[in-house]
Each structure stands twice: as structure tokens, then as C-alpha cells.
């Protein structure tokens, strides 16, 4: 009777609690691919499909013969028997920690044995972190260092041994970087403390196939990428210390935006003289991360073309002495509100948004099509019509850029467009849409095609420098 009661209680608990737990996953990192797979619970143990584990790594096949399952991976064979612990790999016996399971032609092995099993099948070193369910095939781990830059405003500079692409989330006092597909491993100590009152510590955590770095701060911070995704700089928004309080209207996106707007000069130190000069231009490579933009060809996504062009444009602007902030310097996702908030925080003289399209040829320049009538309350400017007072300045900048492109024999057309975030930007704002040369879409991503266009756009911006600078004062 007691046993029956216990069983009933267990069933009831399972029914009540099912569906609320997070799906278990294991991440596998290798030189060929980084991927994650679901972990299956069988007989109260964690299992994983062996074929699914090996498929991204090489040529693999599985064949069922009654209770036997034969696996072939490149030149290695392995044989398993349903309900048995003994297996055979590369001609020698191998003992699993629990029975092999054959389920609908799919071979499941205990997760605990994955490391030693893969090591034998692949013929190389495999490292497994069972508590975090992260498995490293070969020497693929990415290490990082983190140090505080003492130049005001304080910044945390994180250098990684390989390119990384974490998702970033902020909450009061914390910035979280989640590495879902990057083999980032812990530094010497899982918690690093810094001699800074603004950025106090960074903690490394791993669980369920992911790594996370949590940065604690006492001021609003944001992360920016550079060095081809190998460096992440965490610090207050760029002009928090450099911009006078009256220089820019207070702007906030209508909803809560994950990227904070600068809190104001008082919160980040008292040395504005020592701060870097404010950015003259902000260049925004549209789309990114999960948001691919237009599919220009089967292989070429708009997000990749915009990033390549934005990097060239930053270089050309920097060459002309126009300090430039690139909003996205890696394949990361930014919402339109985040882009506008980051730009307005930086208070640049001009915002340049980069797009690419397969239709037509040459370059199209767009300024915002902003409805009037937004209600400004004191220093707070209506989000949807923030561009309205800067429309004439934007038109002048677009005219200057168009003239420079004409001068380089680049076909150019200037239009207005209801295109966000142009209408949320409180400075001169121009969107650039690059079309391919003579309908040859594949050439759209070539540096040879992009370079002269980037140079001409930068020259046009430089020609309008005085007017743009005057409007900022």
C-alpha cells in the first residue's frame, strides 16, 4: 500500500511539474562546427543521440540489424547492442556506464560516456565539462583576459583568443554576455574583481551548454565589439563624460530598451577634460545576428554586406580625422530602438545607416520622412519625430554626399523614406543603400566595389563637416 501511494504521488508530481523545466542541452565545440543538441532523459539518466553528435563533424552513417547498431564515422567503426553496456570501437571493447538504447533506429548513449567514446571514435583529445554539459573536441577553447582601463571614463577591456559573438542583456547594475556557440572557458578565477568604483567585478558561469560572463557595475554600461569580435569593451555610453548636459535633448525609446542611455556626467567621473573627443559620426551596419536583412543571393545576406561596408566607411572617415563609432562591429543583433538610443547617447554630428539591396544599381541616399506634430515636453523630445528639427541638416548632408558620389561617377539618387530609426535620431541622419554594379549582385560584397563608394561617402561627409559641426554647438 505504501509503495502504491508513493508511485501515485510520484505520477501526480510528474504530471503537475511536467512542462515547467528547461530543456537540457549539450554544446559541442570543434574546429569544424560549434553546435548544441538536446539531452534526453532515459531511465533517469542523461542520454544523447550519437549520430547527431557526429554528423556535423564528418561523414557518418548508422545501420540497424536486429538489436545491433553499427556506426561508421569516416574510417572508424563502432558497434552497439540494445540493452547492453558493452560496445566495440575500432576493434576493441568499450564499456558504457549504462545500457545502450536503440530507439526508432536511433542510437542513444549515456552522456557521461560521450567524452571517452568520442575520443576513441575521433582519435583525438576530447574534454567534457559534465556539470555545464560543454564538450570540447581538440584545442578549441577560447580564453580571455579582462582589465580595467584607467583612462576616464573607466572601461573594462576583454580580449579573447578568438572571435566571439555573445548575446548581450542588461539589467540595473549588471551586463550579461551569454556565449551559446563560442567555446569560451573560465579565466584563472571564476570571479574577477576590479579596482574601480564604476565596474566592480566580472563573474564567469557555465550551465546547460552555455557560458555566461556577468559584469557588475554601479553606472549604466554598454558593450561594443572591435578587433573582428576579439575585443569587447564595456563602459559607459561614449559621451557620458564628454558631452555638456545641454548639448543633446533627453531621449528615451518608448519601451524599456536593454541598452541604457547615459546617466549623465556626474555618474561617471569628474574628468571631462581627460575624456576622449566626442564621436563626429556614428556608422550603423543595419540588420545583424538573427536578423539577416535581404537575401541578396542564396549565400549573401544583407547583414554581411552592410558590416563590410560600414567597416570601410569607418576607416575612410577616421582617415579624414572624423572620429567614428561603429554601432555593430560583429554579427550581433541590435533593435532599432537600441541603435537610436546608442546614437543619441553618443551625440554625433551625423548618423549614417548602411543598407544593401539587389535591385537597381549604384547608391541611393535616404533622409527621414518624419511626420511633424510630435509633442516635446521640456528637454524630452518625442521619440517618433526626433528627427524633424534636423531634417534640413540631414538633407544638406545627403546633398553633399551625393555630390561626392557624382564626382566619382557613381550613380546616385536621393530620396526620403519612412525608414527607422532615422526618425528617432536627434542629429543629421542619412541612410545609404548600396546596389550592385550593373546587376552583378555577387560583386556587391567585394572590397574593390565598396572601397571607392566608402571613400566618396566619407569625402561628402567631410565636405559638410563645418555645417554639421556648427549645428552641434
Amino acid at each position: 500500500m505504501r509503495v502504491a501511494m508513493a508511485v501515485l504521488l510520484a505520477i501526480a508530481s510528474v504530471v503537475l511539474l511536467s512542462g515547467s523545466s528547461e530543456e537540457k542541452r549539450v554544446s559541442i565545440y570543434s574546429t569544424i562546427a560549434n553546435y548544441s543538441l538536446p539531452v534526453l532523459e532515459r531511465n533517469r539518466l542523461d542520454y544523447v543521440g550519437l549520430l547527431e553528435v557526429l554528423e556535423p563533424l564528418g561523414t557518418v552513417s548508422g545501420r540497424v540489424n536486429a538489436d545491433h547498431w553499427r556506426l561508421r564515422y569516416n574510417d572508424a567503426d563502432a558497434e552497439f547492442t540494445a540493452g547492453k553496456r558493452v560496445a566495440r570501437t575500432r576493434g576493441t571493447d568499450f564499456y558504457l556506464s549504462a545500457n545502450f538504447i536503440l530507439e526508432g533506429g536511433r542510437g542513444l548513449v549515456p552522456l557521461a560516456d560521450l567524452s571517452s567514446l568520442l575520443s576513441r571514435v575521433l582519435g583525438g583529445p576530447v574534454t567534457f565539462n559534465p556539470s555545464a554539459r560543454r564538450l570540447f573536441v581538440g584545442s578549441v577553447a577560447i580564453h580571455f583576459t579582462a582589465q580595467i582601463s584607467n583612462v576616464a571614463p573607466p572601461k573594462l577591456i576583454m580580449n579573447f583568443s578568438g572571435p566571439v559573438n555573445p548575446s548581450i542583456a542588461t539589467e540595473p547594475g549588471k551586463l550579461r554576455m551569454t556565449f551559446s556557440h563560442d567555446p569560451v572557458v573560465a579565466p584563472g578565477s571564476p570571479k574577477l574583481t576590479f579596482n574601480s568604483t564604476a565596474i566592480t567585478s566580472a563573474s564567469f558561469l557555465e550551465s546547460n551548454g552555455e557560458a555566461e560572463v556577468v559584469i557588475s557595475s554601479t553606472v549604466p554600461v554598454l558593450a561594443s565589439f572591435s578587433n573582428n569580435g576579439r575585443t569587447i569593451t564595456v563602459g559607459p555610453p561614449p559621451t557620458a563624460a564628454a558631452t555638456p548636459a545641454t548639448a543633446a535633448p533627453a531621449l528615451q525609446p518608448p519601451a524599456l530598451a536593454p541598452v541604457p542611455v547615459a546617466a549623465g556626467p556626474a555618474s561617471v567621473g569628474n574628468a571631462p577634460v581627460a575624456a576622449a573627443a566626442p564621436y563626429f559620426a556614428v556608422v550603423d551596419a543595419s540588420h545583424g545576428g538573427e536578423e539577416r536583412g535581404a537575401a541578396l543571393t542564396e549565400q549573401l545576406a544583407e547583414k554581411d554586406v552592410t558590416l563590410a561596408f560600414a567597416r570601410l566607411l569607418r576607416q575612410e572617415l577616421d582617415n579624414r580625422g572624423l572620429r567614428t563609432l561603429l554601432l555593430r562591429d560583429a554579427d550581433t543583433t541590435l533593435t532599432l530602438d537600441q541603435r537610436a538610443a546608442m546614437t543619441n547617447s553618443a551625440s554625433p554630428a551625423i548618423y549614417l545607416s548602411v543598407h544593401a539591396a539587389s535591385q537597381g544599381t549604384g547608391v541611393r541616399l535616404y533622409t527621414g520622412l518624419t511626420a511633424s506634430g510630435g509633442e516635446n515636453i521640456g528637454a524630452f523630445v518625442d521619440w517618433d519625430t526626433a528627427q524633424a528639427p534636423f531634417q534640413a541638416l540631414s538633407d544638406a548632408a545627403a546633398t553633399s554626399v551625393a555630390a561626392a558620389l557624382h564626382g566619382k561617377q557613381v550613380a546616385v539618387r536621393t530620396l526620403t523614406a519612412p525608414l527607422r530609426p532615422l526618425n528617432n535620431i536627434a542629429t543629421a541622419a542619412v541612410a545609404i543603400e548600396i546596389a550592385p554594379p550593373a546587376s552583378d549582385v555577387a560583386k556587391l560584397n567585394s572590397a574593390a566595389y565598396q572601397q571607392p563608394i566608402a571613400a566618396a561617402v566619407a569625402a561628402g561627409v567631410a565636405d559638410a563637416r563645418d555645417r554639421l559641426q556648427a549645428a552641434r554647438k
Binding site: 501511494m5 505520477i11 501526480a12 535591385q359 541611393r364 520622412l369 543603400e433
Partner: protein
């Protein structure tokens, strides 16, 4: 001897489990029921005398708009006229030889004319989901719709586009659909788009 509290606890848990199972079964049954056919009356095709209208037709080649005269039968009601106008425009775009092809299945579900001067154009999901992505290509479509409407239906000052009756961020990744369009500003834009570069 089993303690009375354990028995009571077990009974409560079983009742809860059975209740939740019944609820889940009920919900699943409801979800899997086939959708019933729409009982809304379908308007008969418009016929009768035709009227002269101006359609603003987009041309991908060169990326411009062209005002095009046409004669189409129009019903008497203002709202119905607006819908027929846009359907006539879409008929051009759904032709395979169209200068600005839209995805098969693209439809204007409804046009609502709300005083004072607001037109709400409700497109179906196929229209937006199958639309090609790009600033100019999306702009040509939106300006073509709004300008055709405002040129033929007097009194429209603002326009808004919905997809399947709901707000959508962009048409196909670029053109903003979250705001009301100022028709006067759109007319200026239509003029820009009518001049070939």
C-alpha cells in the same frame, strides 16, 4: 498503518492530476478542431459602368512610379471604392509580366476610411511575407498603394498599413509600418519617385 495526512495528500494530488489531465485533453481537443469556413458574405465582383481613375504603378526597372490612367467599375460606397481601387492596382502587380511583381496570394483584405481623413489599409500575410526586401523596393509598393488611394478618394490626410489586422514593424525588413503616414509628405515622395534619375 498509513498516516491519515498522507492519504489525504495523495487523494488531493490525484484529483489535481486528473483535473489537469482533463483540462489539457479538453484544450487539445479544442485546438485540433478544424477551422470552420468563413460565414461572411462575399461581395460579388463589381460590374457596371466604369470610371476613370489614376493608378500609381511602381516600376522596378529604374525604380520609379508612373501615374497610369485606367477605367474600372467602382461601387457607390466610399470605402468599397477604396478597396476596389487597390484591388485593381494589385491585379497589375500579380501579373507575371508586371513591372513590380508581388508574391502570389497578395491581397488587400480591407480598407477602412475613418474620419477625419484616416485610411487604414489591411493587407494579408502573403503580401508582406512574400514581399522582396530592400528600402526602395518596399517604398515603391507602399507609396504606390497610398498615392493611388489619396489621388482617387478625396479627403485622406493620413494612412496606416496593417497586416492581417495587426501592426507590423516593417513591410519586409525596411519600410516602417508602425507609424501613420502623412499623405501630403507621401505625395511629395511620389513626385520624387516619378522622376527617373
Amino acid at each position: 498503518m498509513i498516516p491519515r495526512q498522507l492519504i489525504l495528500g495523495a487523494v488531493v494530488m490525484i484529483i489535481l492530476a486528473l483535473g489537469m489531465s482533463f483540462y489539457a485533453w479538453h484544450m487539445r481537443g479544442g485546438a485540433s478542431q478544424p477551422e470552420t469556413a468563413s460565414t461572411q458574405p462575399v461581395a460579388p465582383p463589381v460590374s457596371g459602368p466604369t470610371e476613370a481613375v489614376t493608378l500609381y504603378v511602381a516600376y522596378d526597372d529604374g525604380g520609379f512610379l508612373r501615374a497610369q490612367s485606367a477605367r474600372i467599375p467602382l461601387p457607390a460606397g466610399r470605402q468599397e471604392r477604396a478597396e476596389e481601387l487597390l484591388r485593381a492596382l494589385l491585379n497589375i502587380y500579380l501579373d507575371k509580366s508586371s513591372p513590380h511583381v508581388l508574391a502570389a496570394g497578395s491581397e488587400v483584405r480591407d480598407v477602412y476610411l475613418v474620419d477625419p481623413g484616416l485610411a487604414v489599409i489591411d493587407l494579408n500575410a502573403a503580401f508582406a511575407d512574400g514581399h522582396r526586401s530592400g528600402v526602395l523596393i518596399e517604398e515603391l509598393t507602399v507609396v504606390s498603394l497610398v498615392e493611388t488611394l489619396s489621388a482617387n478618394i478625396p479627403g485622406i490626410a493620413r494612412a496606416r498599413i496593417l497586416v492581417d489586422g495587426k501592426e507590423r514593424d516593417t513591410l519586409a525588413g525596411h519600410l516602417d509600418l508602425t507609424n501613420f503616414y502623412d499623405v501630403a509628405a507621401f505625395s511629395q515622395l511620389a513626385l520624387q519617385l516619378q522622376s527617373e534619375r
